[in-house]
Subunit: 210 residues, 2 copies
Amino acid sequence: MAKKKEQVKEKPLSAELRIKEAARKVFTQKGYAAARTRDIAEEAGMNLALLNYYYRSKEKLFELVMLESIKEFFLGLTGILNNPDTGLGEKLELLADSYISMLIREPNFPLFMLSELQANPDKLIELTGTKDFMNKSVFFQQMAAHLKKNKMNFSPMHVVMNMIGLTVFPFIGKPMIKLMSGMKDKEFLQLMEERRKLIPVWMKTMFKIN
Amino acid sequence: MAKKKEQVKEKPLSAELRIKEAARKVFTQKGYAAARTRDIAEEAGMNLALLNYYYRSKEKLFELVMLESIKEFFLGLTGILNNPDTGLGEKLELLADSYISMLIREPNFPLFMLSELQANPDKLIELTGTKDFMNKSVFFQQMAAHLKKNKMNFSPMHVVMNMIGLTVFPFIGKPMIKLMSGMKDKEFLQLMEERRKLIPVWMKTMFKIN
DNA sequence: AAATAATTTAATCATTTGATTAATTTTAAC
DNA sequence: GTTAAAATTAATCAAATGATTAAATTATTT
């Protein structure tokens, strides 16, 4: 049953990877429960049995895809957060810029990730291995010092939540925002581009940075 | 098959309503696709067939529950937004207070609503009937005037997005926030209570209100 | 109290869906 | 070129799941 996998690794041709990327797309779009293995096979243009041949099961495939995406997400995040050579303002600018770009490229990713995290928080904790990396981050330390110096007596986690909220929420809430405002996709995208610059300005104003 | 429904309306006893509320709970927790009719029946402590007896199908039941929740949500929102007797600052305070309370009570509602809106945007548009009510709201007008006066050249929709993002995001992102910070439920709740007061302050600072 | 209607239940159906199998084709090794 | 391994396919299985039915029970009406 489990024939290859460990032995062959240097030659990932088409089928195997195409299934994985199709899975990423379908899972991200519909979520785990609503995604059918047949959808994934069709999206990849492959026979359904290949999914099980290469990845054993829907769940295994999901875990793989999910883990990869989350790892990448956290890596990008910590890369900016832990740079000791940038100040708070610059970090906020880099975060906004990098995440707006990512979100324009992959607008469905956050809702997918948050939904699955909600549906199965424990699994993701063991899957990622990452835990409370935020508290130890350079950003967190810098922000804690800044808040103390400026007599703002609240947790730096508020700052983190605000930053993510301002950046990510519009993408998660896009259908609702379009529903409330009657906006079209093009206008929406333009607003998101504006936020690339505006979010750091707002954040700095809010927390008296610079 | 469809025996009652139109005739009897004044005596909604146990069964029918219990199923609906069980459905709300299960749908909200797991989403449409992952929610099984058997889960709902079990949650309501009722026979599975009653679900179809009273509500015809899983989908009909879902639409009903969803529509009710969204209607209520938008009603609360527009109630505050369209009050001509309150200023911008006060509106922000009322919004934060009312929504933090709602979110502590129903922490799963936003992710549910946004997920389903994403999965099926068109259906919800026809289901709610509401469309671009934001642009015409008193709040929107007040904010447009304020932004213009203070030389902030961007759409009031940014303000709306920020407000919702700051308020709602932490609840949507709770599992991720806990994962990043190692926070426990109690601490999380305390932070949310702090935000009740902090969010209006931040918003006013950000947009130079008062 | 009898009759009718409404509610509830247990059993079952039909479809969907994740997974497997056995056969076939393609690729690689010798 | 033959053989063995890997990849691929079509067909099928088994479990899950939404839905229905027919019978039983309870409530309501007359």
